[in-house]
Structure formats: structure tokens, C-alpha cells
Symmetry: C2
Subunit: 338 residues, 2 copies
């Protein structure tokens, strides 16, 4: 089989513990010893056994990444969070156990109680997420990407969707728009507790009211032909609208095609503000002024905080919930209404 730390120690003429300390750097050693150990490691192509290390140190250097693939979600959206989480984790020396079990509660319990992971990253957290309770029972810390009713015990990061809505409405209000259509996430998202849906909607409605703007709110759909039908219904409900805010990936991805087929030119006939990430807009070549969700930033913040909590046993203060300020990119898809 492969070389063990014993083989390295023997080859280097030192003890096993010295090799271990050379590996961890937790103790100083002479240059000569270090050199001999390094040579031996190289000669034997030694890599520490992860299971043995985990058993002895009670650290796996693995994070659990818990996600679900949902029918009503536009697949590309979730993927945006996976890469930054993975990259940031590796920067801190952690690998990712990707858990997609449909039994969410069981998956958390299974992987934490067996000590497969040192921490948990929960993606796409819902308002009453069933994963939180089993994760509270776990010894490992957890971090949430998303917003829950009660995030007690966890660090949580999410975009400030209320602020996102205000940015969008303010932008249009400043440009003189008085009648705005808002397309929100589909009904399913509300139903399962995707709080970003109503946090954005409620803030948008409130902000519009403050300006005396008439706002027509409609739920989008995840698939065709529903997407088109929902848009048709929205425009029929407020034909005089001069602006459209789209807070739904599937709808905004289909929007260029939809507007094109209706002969609607942006921003001449309609001003459009989207809500999506830069990567998403890039992948689908979306030409709209947008309030940017920041998956890269959220993923990085979440993992960094998780690492901090692991490395700092008595981390000062309660776990935090942090809402991130959205970005804004003007792509000239809104016009000034006189």
C-alpha cells in the first residue's frame, strides 16, 4: 500500500511524532531534520491518510454543502453559489461534501453526527427551513445563505432584497415613471418560504406607494409557456405601464425573446430593470439595467465566516445575520419619462 507516516519517519531517521509536527508546523525543528523529512516525503510520495487524521484530530477539513435541485427553480441560479463556496473553501484548506438528498433533515443528521464534516453550508435557505433544527443538534457550526425566520445559532448571509427593491423603484421614480409592472418569483417560491420573493415585493410595493406610483404585481413562472402567459397577463393588467421590474431569473432570461416577438423596443417602448447576478446576465446576454444579486460575495462571506467560527472557539458575540447591499449596473434600459 501507500507510504505511511511510519515509513517516512524510518526513511528520515526520525520519530513519527517529529514527522507529524513537521507536517503541521506546530513545533519547530532543525533545518537538517526538516530537510530529511521533506526528502523522505517526496521520495515516498507520502500523503497523510485523511481518515486517520480525522480520527486523531477530530477535524476532517471538509464542509458539507447542502443543496436541493428544485423543479421550480431555474437551475443556473443555484450553480452561481456553488463555485464561490467551493473556491473559498479550498482557499482555507477545506473540501466540499455535496449533499443533495431529498431527505434534507436526514442528510444533515447523517453527515454531521458521523463527523464527516467540520461545518455546514446551507444553500437556498427558506423561511422555515427544515434543515435548521437538525443542524442545531449538530456539534459543527453552520452558515446559511438565505434568510430564515429564526436563524438562532447560525451565521446567515443574504442579499438585502428590501434594499434591492428600493433601488429599483427609486431608479424608475427618479426617471419619472408612474406606472410600473413588477414580476416576482413564481408562487412555488413563496409557498416553500423563499423569503426573497416577498421581501422584495413588499418593499417595492411600499416604496412605490410612497412615490404615489401605481404598481401592478404579478407572479412569474419557471417554465414556458407559463412565462409568456404571465407576462401577457401582466401587460394586460396595466397596459399603460412605462416600466417593468423583473425579479425572476426564468422570466428575465426569456424577456429579450418575449419583447422582441411583441415588437417592444427597450427602452423606447418600455423601461426594464432586472434583478440578477452579473454572471447570470452575462450567461444570458441580458441587456438590462440591473440590481445585482451578489452570489460570489455571499458565498465567500459565508465560508469565510464559517472558517472563522471553527478557528476561533470562543468567537465573540452571537452568530450574525448579515444582509448585503445589492449592486447596481445601469445598462441604459430605462428612459426618462416626461
Amino acid at each position: 500500500m501507500a507510504a505511511t507516516i511510519r515509513d517516512v519517519a524510518y526513511a528520515a531517521g526520525v520519530s513519527v511524532s517529529t514527522v507529524s509536527y513537521a507536517l503541521s508546523g506546530k513545533r519547530s525543528l532543525s533545518d537538517e531534520t526538516r530537510r530529511r523529512i521533506e526528502d523522505a516525503i517526496r521520495a515516498l510520495d507520502f500523503t497523510p491518510n485523511a481518515g486517520a487524521r480525522a480520527l486523531a484530530s477530530a477535524e476532517t477539513k471538509v464542509f458539507g454543502l447542502y443543496l436541493q435541485f428544485r423543479e421550480d427553480e431555474f437551475a443556473p441560479a443555484m450553480l452561481q453559489y456553488v463555485l464561490p463556496v467551493s473556491t473559498t473553501a479550498r482557499e482555507h484548506g477545506y473540501d466540499l461534501l455535496m449533499v443533495t438528498d431529498t431527505d434534507l433533515r436526514g442528510a444533515i443528521h447523517r453527515t454531521t453526527s458521523s463527523y464527516m464534516v467540520d461545518g455546514a453550508v446551507l444553500l437556498d435557505v427558506t423561511y422555515d427551513d427544515v434543515r435548521l433544527e437538525p443542524l442545531r443538534q449538530a456539534k459543527q457550526p453552520g452558515v446559511l445563505i438565505g434568510y430564515a425566520r429564526d436563524a438562532t445559532g447560525f451565521d446567515a448571509f443574504d442579499l438585502d432584497f428590501g434594499e434591492a427593491a428600493r433601488i429599483a423603484v427609486d431608479h424608475l421614480a427618479e426617471r419619472g415613471h408612474r406606472e410600473i409592472i413588477l414580476v416576482t418569483p413564481p408562487r412555488d417560491v413563496y409557498d416553500r418560504g423563499g423569503s426573497y420573493a416577498w421581501r422584495f415585493r413588499d418593499a417595492a410595493v411600499e416604496r412605490a406607494a410612497r412615490y404615489g406610483i401605481r404598481m401592478s404585481v404579478h407572479e412569474g413562472e419557471a417554465r414556458q409557456p407559463g412565462i409568456t402567459e404571465a407576462l401577457d397577463a401582466a401587460f394586460a393588467a396595466l397596459p399603460t405601464a412605462t416600466a417593468l421590474i423583473v425579479h425572476n431569473d426564468a422570466t428575465v432570461a426569456a424577456l429579450p425573446s418575449y419583447l422582441n416577438s411583441r415588437g417592444v423596443v427597450v427602452p423606447r417602448d418600455l423601461s426594464v430593470v432586472g434583478v440578477y447576478s452579473a454572471d447570470f446576465g452575462n450567461a444570458f446576454s441580458l441587456p438590462y439595467t440591473s440590481v445585482e444579486t451578489l452570489p460570489d460575495k455571499l458565498g465567500e462571506l459565508a465560508v469565510t465566516q464559517l472558517v472563522r467560527r471553527i478557528n476561533t472557539p470562543g468567537l465573540a458575540g452571537e452568530p450574525l445575520t448579515r444582509l448585503i447591499e445589492p449592486g447596481f449596473v445601469d445598462r441604459d434600459s430605462t428612459r426618462i419619462v416626461s
Copy 2:
């Protein structure tokens, strides 16, 4: 801390080894003993420590899933393989370590030589994939999803893209088409060794030649505005084409919008055959007759074979390379040319 097997043994009044055998089922035990052990496990909420188990049994029950997020690839495409791999792995009791390091060789070596994984699943394998060599050094078996120049030592699964091309061309030939445009994957895909690109293209060209069909071949683009420009160029090169075969996700996703904007009605003005998976077509509401790539089937076959190879030490015969017959779904997007 959490309960160990010793605690369970003590509570059940049996030895540690008996608990272990009760867990693994590798030895029969009396009903009474079994009941007492089960009660103790439940009372203590015992879960075996994964690290200890891995160390003692030399099995982690984890597969490495090695993938890369590429700029030139349409993100949703890769995701289609992740879910079936994950689901099938879980069905066989395996979790997935998702490895996205940009250092592909190092990632393979790091995770296999440390025995973090019992096997490796390589996604998006290229013709001269740099991951194969380090994986050959590994003690764990590996399975490839994709097609490599030399897959010696591995089981490999891929769609039969040659056959996919023949199915598409045959379908159009039978319907009387004599001038066909083929949009292939982007240049980058060829450059990095995405053999599906040329395997499809070469087979399509050859098949067309056999029929005496004129075929105009063009490389697609991954992003706008390149997608549109490539399509414009293709139609300009063969304005009299009556049919279009699209073997590129990004292009086919943008196609409805593109054709709409050009006033082209399918199949009245143009017959279209796509090459994509059912899920992909569904997610993007694609209305085209398609040769179906089968990511679910490939992912499942690959993982099943990996499990088999692990469970059957002296698995008869060499590792196999298997090309899967594509599916075909007629969505009436091709017309009969007289």
C-alpha cells in the same frame, strides 16, 4: 461528545465487536441481542464515526466528483450530470466529494492519495484529459463520463455522438433536405479536446456526403453577441439551406429568440434539429425535434459501474468504454421538402 460504539456496547450489555457486526450485518446474532443493540443505538442516537470507520475498513463511502466550471461552457449543461451522479451514488451508499480545483492533476492526487475517496467520477472528460494520468497512479478505480484518446485503465461512458449525427442527418435526408447548416460547439471546445464536437461534426459531414447533401459547417459561440453573429454568418454562407442542425447548448437556447427576430418560422421557413437533453430542452422550452443526449443515463451507468468495480475485486475483463445510443424526439420542427 457523541456516543461511541463503546457506549452502545456498554448500554446493550454486549461487546464492541458484537455491535460492530450488528451494524454491518456481517455476522448473525440473536434477536434478543439485536433488539438490545438497536435500543441502545436509538437511546444514545449513535452514528458511527466516519473517520474511524474509514481508517479501520479502508473505505470512506465517498466518491470524488471532479468537474470544472468553464467560461466557454454553458453552465446548465454540466449540472445535468451532477444530479444523476449524486442520486445514484446515494442509492449505493456513497456521498460525493465535489472537487473543483483549477489544478486538476493536483486535485486528483490530493484526494486519492489521502484516501478521501473510494473512487473517482470524472465529468466532462477531454480527449487528452490531464486528470487521467494522476488517476492511473491512484489505487482507487475511476470512471469517465466523456471520451478520451486513451481511456486505458478506466471505465468510460459517453453518448455515441457519431450516431447522434447520423440520426439527425438521416432524419432530414428522409424528409428531402439537400442543403443543411450545422452549428457545432465553439472553437474552444475543439481546442481543449471536447471530442463530442468533432465526433458529431465528422460523422455529420460524412453522412451528408453519402446522401449528396450540401452541408455548411459553422462553429457556434458560448455568449452573445457571438451567438447571433455566428448564426448570421452561417445563414449568409448558405442562404438556400432548408434545415439547421444545432449541436451547441448556448446557440440552441438562443435560437427561438434569434429566429423570431429574423421572422423565420419553424418549420415553415426552416427545419430545425437540436442536440440536447430532455431536461435542457424543458428548462429552455425548446420546441425542436431533437437528438437527445442522455445525461441521466450516463451518470447512472457510470456510477453503477464504479460501484460494481469496487465491490467485485477481480471484475472480469478489461475496463470498458461504452457509447450510448442517443434518444430521438420528434417535435415536428422539420418539414418535408418536395
